[in-house]
Point group: C2
Chain length 754, copies 2
Amino acid sequence: MIALEQSLKFMIDIIFYSYNIKFCIYDTIMSTNHQLSYFFNPKSIAVIGASETPGKVGYNVLKNIITSGFTGKIFAINPKADELKNILDYPAYKSVLDVPEEIDIAIFVIPAKLVNPIAEECGKKNVKGLVVISAGFKEVGGEGITREQELVSIARKYNMRVIGPNCLGFVGINYNGSFAANTPKEGGIAMVSQSGAMLTGMMDYSMEQSFGFSCNISLGNKADLDEVDFIEYLAEDDDTKVILCYLESIDKGEKFLKVVPFAARKKPIIILKAGISEAGARAASSHTGALAGADIAYELSFKKSGVIRAKTISDLFDYGEVFLYQPIPKDNSFAIITNAGGPGIVATDAFEKEGLKFTSFSESILHLLRENLPKEAAIFNPVDIIGDASPQRYAFTINTIFGLNHSDTGKTNSKKEVTTQGALIIMSPQAQTHPNEVVKLIHAISSEKLQDKPILCSLIGGVSIHEATKYLNDHHIPCYPFPERAAQSLKALVDYSNFLKTKQIESREIPRFKVDKDKVTSIFANARDDGRTVLLSYETSEVFERYGIRSPKTRLAKTPREAMKYQEEIGKVVMKIVSPQIIHKTDVGGIILDINTPGEAFEAYIQIVDNTKKFGPQIAKVYGVEIQEMIDFRKEKKVNELIIGMSRDPQFGPLLMVGSGGIYANFLKDVSFALSYNFTEADAKEMLQKTKIFSLLQGVRGESASDIDSILEVLLRLSQLVNDFPEIVELDINPLLSFIKGYSAVDIKITISR
Amino acid sequence: MIALEQSLKFMIDIIFYSYNIKFCIYDTIMSTNHQLSYFFNPKSIAVIGASETPGKVGYNVLKNIITSGFTGKIFAINPKADELKNILDYPAYKSVLDVPEEIDIAIFVIPAKLVNPIAEECGKKNVKGLVVISAGFKEVGGEGITREQELVSIARKYNMRVIGPNCLGFVGINYNGSFAANTPKEGGIAMVSQSGAMLTGMMDYSMEQSFGFSCNISLGNKADLDEVDFIEYLAEDDDTKVILCYLESIDKGEKFLKVVPFAARKKPIIILKAGISEAGARAASSHTGALAGADIAYELSFKKSGVIRAKTISDLFDYGEVFLYQPIPKDNSFAIITNAGGPGIVATDAFEKEGLKFTSFSESILHLLRENLPKEAAIFNPVDIIGDASPQRYAFTINTIFGLNHSDTGKTNSKKEVTTQGALIIMSPQAQTHPNEVVKLIHAISSEKLQDKPILCSLIGGVSIHEATKYLNDHHIPCYPFPERAAQSLKALVDYSNFLKTKQIESREIPRFKVDKDKVTSIFANARDDGRTVLLSYETSEVFERYGIRSPKTRLAKTPREAMKYQEEIGKVVMKIVSPQIIHKTDVGGIILDINTPGEAFEAYIQIVDNTKKFGPQIAKVYGVEIQEMIDFRKEKKVNELIIGMSRDPQFGPLLMVGSGGIYANFLKDVSFALSYNFTEADAKEMLQKTKIFSLLQGVRGESASDIDSILEVLLRLSQLVNDFPEIVELDINPLLSFIKGYSAVDIKITISR
């Protein structure tokens, strides 16, 4: 591996600047969190559309608020208030404006058409937050879309925040403001869901699990408040230990990327992103667009933000539970203890699959195991304490591998040892196994001596291990019927541990190169004025030149004299007709190669223009003749073809790509991606290292290494370009020829928006 | 896509022969099955080491036989028989030889050292089968290995079959001959396990599931009977509907490949192969060996045999249950019905991931749905019948999508429609949902009208759907807490359905080319005589020539006159010194290019031999000078570099490889594999189509197609070669240059065993 570390440090034209986004983030948190806290801790709630008819949503919501033990004031709003006086023993009013006291939160369970006028009244009444359960907004299209826009306008006008519309409601510790059939148990998991039905299902499911919720929030149409707002709030919420999200879309990608990485350092955030198969509305006329999978931007943004991604609903809860109850391991260094070979092998396979690492025990630990376990036991990790293992043997082994039996025997290695940072303990019920005793000892050791090391169990069986399983659940040690899910959960802990070790975003350095932005602006403006969205090649060449990316020099000559001037400036050139209407330049005699003198350039200009007049279409608008540097790449000792590109993700912005280029790029599919947001040199390195061609660039079979630093620089400069110009829709460099020293971006395609 | 179909039909030198392995297979089945049936239906069992002390294995086994209701005779064998007379009320004998009646099965629970002498007695007593629970054999190494070999010899001598040693025992419908704590429920699943602990765990787990077992077999060390023997038996066993295996190794790969494909046509076979991470003892000095993953041979052999592979223990049971209770679908064409958007999206993602296809409903079905479902419903597949779906709406929708409400509306399409072949029905408990009613209707429709279409359910929730879930389990409709596992199970059914549609092995044509086997035998013998295992290049060239694979013609000249002769025969040649001691031929002047006349060849011979005498090592043994055809590949319009090779898997034999070749083959890793066992033209096509380079061979961007048929022929000829010569350990062709017409195997490496 070559010394990548030297890298860009020597480039003279870079200005590093500290990426100081933190202050503005904190500002957002203060204001949003202040407003959101009304939903979590309201002093008073009005139910708009409260009903005394069981089965009606307006009844269910009011009933849930009451029975969930809300201690603040409750007002029932109903047009028939004059007759009813009270609904379920709470005072009824015709309008919020009639309520004599302050209202913090209004929950809407009335037909969509009536929502906005009453929202307006809520604004006048100085209500802080609206929970709009009512459906009939954006999701029905047509006038529903206008209605939703109006609702947001009203909220903005009166500085109110809105959950929904078209949602299940809000369930917090202080009250259940939803129409769900049950109020879930209280606990440390915050659940945020874009699907009401999924939320009901999961709440129902959770009733029998060992965990409970700090809140269950149904986002509905996300007209105002979305997942990012709640993630931001919940990261600071003392009742919440873990944040789980079920999402079908993330509409505001940049907001997500700004907020979530900070929140994720405070609380683990686990997201199940559904609707993968329907995503991918990304433009795909470029190589980059075609090669990027529909899901890649979500994958990258989750990774960048420290989000743990659940692939299934089962994962979502497994990860929620393990993060709720177990500590984050310091290192990827674990042990398996088993009393049965088969399950141990299954667990080892699962560890391997998840990339979990086995601690290599110290000599002193091995010595203790060897002396005290039966000779049939396997003392190397995974440790098989065999079928007749007693509870005491389990306890001895756990204590030993964590170094708790480890009086200094003088046998410790001189090198600093990586110690065991957590364990998966497997028990298969056999004749001599006493499951209930074993789990009690596991819990005792774990809670007394291993507070910073995750312990997970897999008890394999049914009737024989019911009681033991229940004991583990009650004592917050995650227990799985088979070892595979345990390995996945442990991997989630490791991923989060690794994220916490990464550099804080605010201390990362995003290089800013000196560039000529104004010139590029004018090139784009010219093309647009001309009705073109795909740049011509002398234009792409100049854009790259202004951003410090090397490509064959190209100039547009509009007269034979200019052709002479540019040939003189560049050297050996090829000359080509420039006309958007002429696609096949060779066919009309529009290309002349190997021009070495100004005289030849003069004559070639006249010849090319003559040829195209003679052989080209009558309507052809001729811009002039392109004078392009001819580089003889055969002189280079080593040439690798790369593809580098950008396509714009509708949610997460520019998506950079690098990989194996050339005419077969689309078949080789050897490419890797990164978000251009906060793109650092380390990101550039990481994405290049993920490609197969990276090995070739490093040099194989005695070859010299290619100029990898220069490729990283291209990626960083490209990132700056596409961030500076949101009008660049797509960009492909294919091939970029990489040499032992330097490179050349030979063929460039830039597409801009109209 | 080019017409691959023409293919080899035109080759003149092929003799197709019908691969008539079926008869010999049937022979095996008859004899083995006859012997194995004693284990399943013994008339009498002797427990060797029976004990009346609770807690002892000899007690547990006897007790299990008795309490599991065995109706045959039971004999307790114990050295203290004279004192005891009876053990647990059954007659005790000192030796099997003392038993006055016939013994079918003897179960051993005595120390290892005592096993073989008593096995000998069993032989004399004409016992049919031994179940050796005792440990202390191969698994302990040393004398244990000898002991196990002896045990097998004894069994062979007396024509007895052996289960174990070192196992849990045998549990059948007629008796529980194991020391497991519980006797599992009776049912249609046969479970075969290489791990006793895994078997106990799984039996225990199953006690609460909806399925039961026809047998639970613990294979132990597989000294005699192994998984293949039992698969063969169980395929014919009337009590068994599905065969589940937990395996850590398959030691007899060829036996597996011979037997399992036949068995799999009779019963679904599901295997969890553990120990993936420890496999891969394959030789890896070749490209092919290095590129083949450790698990690839298992993966290929399972696919070839129609085995459904479970990736986790949870899969194993999920698949077992779905195959036990649901029919095999005719096509990959399914529907999802859901009353909630979120779970529907999750299920759609899972379908997409598993490659399950959505039926495109006919106009008449869509019409019915449109007319009868609420306007908010999604009538296209997946069908969302929305939150207020009543049981009747579920029933209506199921009937409709299966065409059961489908009176001819005159709107059916003219083209033959693919109809729905199965469904996943999702229910999320909402206010108007009546789960218990819904599941009753689902079961009624499924059992009355959809006997040939699999129906799976996912009820999302906990307390609200307990009763409904239990109802489904009791009525054999698989029900999953979340949709992802349902999709996996449905995929397993589709895989099996596809396997059943493949051509029967016995009707497949394995091409046999006319070759010169004797000549190749003598080439290998010469090399071996010479102490070489890697062939020299004139040897590989001749081996290939004799097997009809084109490579540059190469001859070994031992005199200047021979050089003349060969040059005249071949044409333009390169001449190279041949000496195993000279590695860098150019350095010693050992290579001369561009030889066009016999005269030049004569002189070149003398020059090369002179040069190597002067500049080469003193010890160099000179075989002569190689005369090799020089082909100018630059004349070819299209050249693709392929790699083709073979490495020998220790279990499953020759493993063929094809993919992108050249010096970067190991970095591109664009290769695919196939077992050479029963290798047909269709297999060759399939493996080539799996590579990325296949697109390039087909021709992209207006290029001509390469001669794909000729590549397929190389693969088939190579397969014949490596099957004819088990001494070929590894073989690489890299590159094989593929042209528009023809190919050339430029660089060949063949390694043979000593």
